[in-house]
Symmetry: C2
Subunit: 289 residues, 2 copies
């Protein structure tokens, strides 16, 4: 009898062990669980998020129909390496992690900055990707993306006890219903008590801030690359995203040749953490299609 | 033994008899079928459409979970009366039809001009409506709604044989996939062979054109009324609607306090006739919620 069970398909977000794989000189941290059928889905995390910030209510639902791979990019959480100061660099690192896992074709789910990285991976390696899910994100040089809005920027630097309370004003709208959904979200991401990830370092935060500014800098023709991404894409956001303004989700849908857009009411950057049941239904329909 | 079965819940879009009800001096034509449970859904038709232009693939799917009431507004198809030259008048007529059927609370599904009418009914009679579905439509004074685009306007006046071919360029995108979906849509609305409706008269077409222009005329603060519609609302459109420009669906979602938006790829004014399976899934989830 072993007291330490092997990873297997019965794992969930709560108990899937943190694993590591070496690629391009970096030791990447990831968690892998779910039903080993069909096309695996790789999740790319938001600014300041680590493996513990993926919502178990979403990833466990996904895991019923496919393998789910939660990732820390280079120099995020338990991953080693250096955080690139460009989305292009982050995309190279994330792709090298996917390659190191021996995955030849994946669905990509990028939230916020993870959505920038997902777009760049599809551009660089179109054959690696089957379907794309872009949540709370925007195109290169999008509207109001060069820097955070004056009211939003301080929310990322503020100290809380516990610190994860920072996500309530960033991910959820001021309404009572949205804030209540936010508190339930926090309970879900706190539920895992063993083998947790570690906070993102200040050095990485600074590098990723530079990467986001470079991606968001307005430039003529900056949406043109979207016409070349023919992958089926699901774009999702809240009605009033204070981090990546909602209009950018509309711009993505209007410029991507094969994208569907869903916008939820009374919601902010983390609408999928709020309308999780609806979101899971849409997402499951999309990746199973 | 009766050779003429009574209308009952087994009726479908194909065989539900055309019925009539008198209200405010008008004899309204309608068809009613589906499962008599829950909140009935009333459908409000687009410009130049009659009872035969509702998509059976959508209305039969709706009918599995509720009663479906297809309507002809005043002076449309087999309805008598005079066609109002304002959306306000069309909304009063449609509400009087709903009242005459003894329905105290309904879901409203308005497509295109039917969406203008649905918004106006909710404004006039908020207690009459539970949920609102707005497809291929826009707000008062929306973007590019005062008149049809120069390339679009002639599409409504052109002669075809058969005439229903007019809907291919109006409802579907130029892509092969969309046009093929359009031909399947035409087969569906042609499938009913008995007891069909009659074409919309030129007088009614002229009156409804005036109503659409009046609704669409840009005016400062013309979206303000949307803040007062707190009903759960599902807004749906195609990626490039040439009749009511797609941005207006975004404007609806951004100004309605409780609206969800879905935009489909590679599609035009009739995206729900193209992505019918996905649309039915979203719609069923929304009205069953």
């Amino acid at each position: 009898m072993s007291s330490q069970p092997e990873p297997n398909k019965a794992d969930t977000a709560a108990n899937a062990p943190t694993q590591f794989v070496d690629a391009s000189g970096t030791r990447f941290a990831y968690r892998r669980f779910g039903n080993p059928i069909g096309t695996p889905i790789v999740l790319l995390q938001h600014f300041m998020g680590n493996l513990d910030n993926y919502d178990p209510a979403i990833t466990d639902a996904l895991g019923q129909g496919r393998e789910v791979i939660l990732t820390d990019n280079a120099a995020v959480g338990l991953s080693t390496g250096v955080a690139p100061e460009t989305v292009a660099g982050m995309a190279r690192d994330a792709a090298s992690l996917i390659d190191a896992l021996g995955l030849e074709r994946v669905d990509l789910f990028g939230f916020s900055m993870g959505g920038y990285v997902a777009q760049q991976i599809v551009l660089d390696r179109p054959e690696l990707v089957r379907r794309l899910v872009l949540v709370g994100t925007g195109p290169r040089g999008g509207d109001g993306m060069a820097q955070l809005a004056p009211d939003t920027a301080p929310l990322f630097g503020k100290a809380y006890d516990p610190q994860d309370l920072m996500w309530l004003p960033i991910f959820f709208s001021p309404s009572e219903a949205s804030q209540a959904a936010g508190r339930r979200f926090l309970e879900r991401i706190r539920a895992r008590t063993e083998d947790r990830d570690v906070p993102v370092s200040e050095t990485t935060v600074a590098a990723h801030s530079a990467a986001a500014r470079e991606w968001g800098a307005a430039a003529p023709g900056s949406f043109d690359y979207l016409k070349g991404i023919t992958h089926p894409t699901l774009v999702v956001n809240g009605s009033e995203d204070i981090v990546v303004p909602t209009i950018n989700s509309y711009i993505l849908q209007q410029n991507l040749p094969n994208a569907e857009l869903i916008l939820f009411p009374d919601s902010n950057h983390g609408s999928h953490f709020q309308f999780t049941q609806s979101f899971n239904g849409y997402l499951s329909e999309f990746v199973d299609r």
